[in-house]
């Protein structure tokens, strides 16, 4: 996992954020409800124990990784950067697509239209096997239309699933 050291740092930040946020919320709850944290019949004993266990694990985790792993080689670094770029673009693309579904108001066919655009864009972005752009776009659009139609009819008609 050495090549993903930056993600290791982000993961730890997320864990610390969880620990701090939940501990603060727990203390706030204890004060507002006048409940002790570590009392046998307290409603807060279980969350308090989980906080404590997480804190201990985090200390061991930091201790275990002291000194860090070896630094990645240049070619690994370039590959990882490329992967991060793709993940970030796809994540933001999905977020925009979901927010469009939430806030955009169209009289009809919002889901099929937005989904076709998203699937086409994502397929073009990920397709590294074809250098001819027009062909890339045409095949992506065609696949997107077929896929969205299949999803739309199978889910809403056959499975009875409500679509966004």
């Amino acid at each position: 996992m050495n090549q993903y050291r930056s993600l290791g740092i982000i993961a730890r930040i997320v864990v610390v954020f969880f620990l701090v946020a939940f501990t603060a919320s727990l203390i706030h709850l204890g004060i507002s409800k006048n409940e002790a944290l570590f009392k046998i019949n307290s409603a807060l004993i279980y969350p308090a124990l989980v906080c404590l266990i997480l804190l201990v694990c985090l200390i061991f985790d930091f201790k275990g990784d002291l000194g860090g792993g070896k630094k990645e080689k240049d070619n690994e670094y370039i590959e990882i950067r490329q992967e991060y770029r793709l993940v970030t673009i796809l994540f933001l693309g999905l977020l925009v697509y979901i927010l469009l579904l939430k806030y955009l108001i169209l009289p009809f066919a919002l889901f099929p239209l937005a989904t076709t655009v998203y699937v086409t864009a994502a397929t073009i972005l990920l397709n590294d096997g074809d250098d001819r752009w027009m062909r890339k776009i045409a095949s992506a659009a065609l696949i997107a239309v077929v896929f969205v139609l299949a999803i739309y009819y199978s889910f809403s008609r056959i499975f009875g699933v409500i679509l966004p």
Binding site: M1, Y4, L7, G8, I10, A11, V14, F18, A21, F22, S25, L26, L29, K33, I40, N41, A43, I45, Y46, P47, V50, I53, L54, C57, L58, F60, D61, G64, E79, Q82, E83, L86, V87, L90, F91, L94, L95, Y97, I98, L101, K102, T115, Y118, V119, A122, T123, L126, N127, D128, G129, A144, F147, I151, F155, F159, G160, V161, I162, L163, P164
Partner: protein
């Protein structure tokens, strides 16, 4: 009659979906089952179970197809199949490799099911005598073992489990009515659904993980179906292997936190020790080397299902998802399940039996179609799977906010997995957290203090057995990890 035509068809469809998804490298069985669960929210329980169980069984069997054709296991449970399966392909015997893999998978699956049918009611009767201490120890056992077994990152696994416990606590405290960890927002007042976490952490995460593996495969081989029926001369060599591989797979499947992947590796290792005169040297295309892991990984399905149904503890990440699906559809697997819902127990056994047989038939007659599917470029699959995750999470409550939650679980899952923090314990902790909390509080109130609680663990016979089992499992599994590390 337990299995109607409609249910039979749903098992067939589920098995075929599982086979195809299991055969595609990178698309895990867990992800397949999660996506199948998301289709079934509004379905009657029996139909949903038929579909999900079919996908589970098909997914495990499908993993061997790409393991043999590409040397890339379709699922983690098929890793050991690559050792000799791909070598057999290179020797010009891919049909023998796949034929053996499919047939012994059928045998392993049926053995696991027979053991489930026999041992399930027995374990259920024992579990009826459990009190809060035992419930607490069992659930704790499940979470800690899943965490400890997480690819050797025990502390990271426990951290992931603690975060799952926290997320599971968001919302109203069921005993006092306090709003916990909502941070003043209405959005969190109803809690965070573990189904969203499952779709995000197993489905959407996989979409992000697959972005660095965008290569397309070129598989040109084709099988003649009659070649996939194993020859008696080969089966004579392979059948003795099933005698120990089936029990090994089933027993390892029983242990919380382990699954078909570990069962297959242990079975392969045992076979290399026990078979003194293999058909070829192990690692060079021995028939026994294909059979041992394939019997074990399918027998593990029965083992993992036994633990899940009788104790309410999932054996691995797939059974964690299936446990979530049971709860979603109003069933609570666990010690009371066998007493209160015996009809659902036999239903699950029948569904698994049919799914195992159908998956074998699907593997035989659909092998060529699945090989063609391997040629579908990843850039068509990844956007499609991300849309299935969006639709699945929206369909839960018809809320776009749920989709946003799912997406964030997906990106957290990606960051965590790449950083070595396994996501399985997080989901498991979200599912089992409520049970742990309730039983811990109850046990504390009954005993009156922490030392008394600890004493009661040792004074009650079933608790004591569980404490010993927990300690033994830790030791055995650490030993397993240690020996695997030494081997590699």
């Amino acid at each position: 009659m337990i299995v109607t035509t409609e249910l039979f068809l749903l098992i067939v469809v589920g098995s075929l979906i599982g086979l195809v998804m299991g055969a595609l490298p990178g698309l895990t069985v867990t992800m397949t089952v999660v996506l199948c669960v998301s289709l079934t929210y509004g379905w009657p329980m029996d139909q949903a179970l038929a579909f999900i169980v079919g996908a589970f069984s098909g997914g495990v069997m499908g993993g061997s197809i790409s393991a043999i054709s590409l040397n890339i296991p379709g699922t983690a449970a098929a890793v050991a199949t690559t050792f000799d399966g791909f070598m057999l392909k290179k020797r010009g015997e891919p049909h023998h490799a796949l034929g053996i893999a499919l047939f012994v998978s059928l045998l392993g699956g049926l053995f696991g099911l027979a053991m489930l049918a026999l041992a399930g009611p027995l374990l259920g009767k024992i579990a009826l005598k459990f009190g809060p201490q035992e419930y607490f120890l069992i659930t704790l056992w499940g979470i800690t073992l899943v965490s400890v077994l997480s690819k050797g990152h025990a502390v990271k696994g426990l951290i992931s489990a603690c975060i799952g416990l926290f997320i599971g606590m968001i919302g109203m405290d069921p005993q006092t009515g306090y709003m916990r960890f909502t941070f003043g927002t209405e959005l969190l007042s109803g809690g965070v659904s573990y189904i969203l976490a499952m779709i995000g952490l197993f489905g959407m995460k996989e979409v992000f993980v697959q972005l660095n593996k965008s290569q397309t495969f070129k598989v040109e081989e084709r099988y003649r179906i009659r070649d996939l029926f194993p020859k008696w001369s080969i089966m004579k060599k392979v059948l003795p292997t099933t005698l120990w591989s089936g029990p090994i797979g089933w027993i390892i499947g029983l242990l919380p936190g382990t699954g078909g992947d570990i069962g297959a590796l242990v079975s392969y290792g045992t076979t290399t020790q026990l078979v003194k005169n293999p058909s070829r040297r192990f690692g060079e295309g021995a028939y026994e080397g294909v059979a041992a892991p394939e019997v074990a990984n399918d027998a593990a399905i029965g083992g993992a299902t036994t633990t899940m149904l009788t104790l309410g503890i999932p054996g691995d990440s797939v059974t964690a998802v299936i446990l979530g699906a049971f709860i979603l559809h109003g069933l609570q697997p666990g010690p009371l399940f066998m007493a209160s819902n015996p009809e659902y127990f036999s239903m699950v056994v029948w569904f698994l039996f049919i799914a195992t047989v159908i998956s074998y038939g699907g593997g035989l007659f659909g092998a060529n179609a699945m090989l063609k599917m391997l040629n579908v470029p990843k850039w068509y699959l990844i956007p499609a799977i991300s849309i299935l995750c969006v639709v699945g999470s929206y369909a839960l409550m018809n809320s776009i906010n749920d989709v946003i939650f799912m997406l964030f679980f997906g990106i957290i899952g990606y960051v965590f997995e790449k950083a070595g923090y396994p996501v399985g314990p997080m989901v498991l902790a979200m599912i089992l957290g409520k049970m742990i909390e309730e039983n811990l509080r109850l046990a504390l109130i009954i005993t009156g203090s922490v030392p008394d609680l600890l004493f009661s663990f040792l004074a009650r016979p079933y608790s004591l057995i569980l404490v010993v089992l927990i300690a033994a499992s830790f030791l055995i599994q650490y030993k397993l990890l240690f020996s695997q590390g030494k081997k590699s």
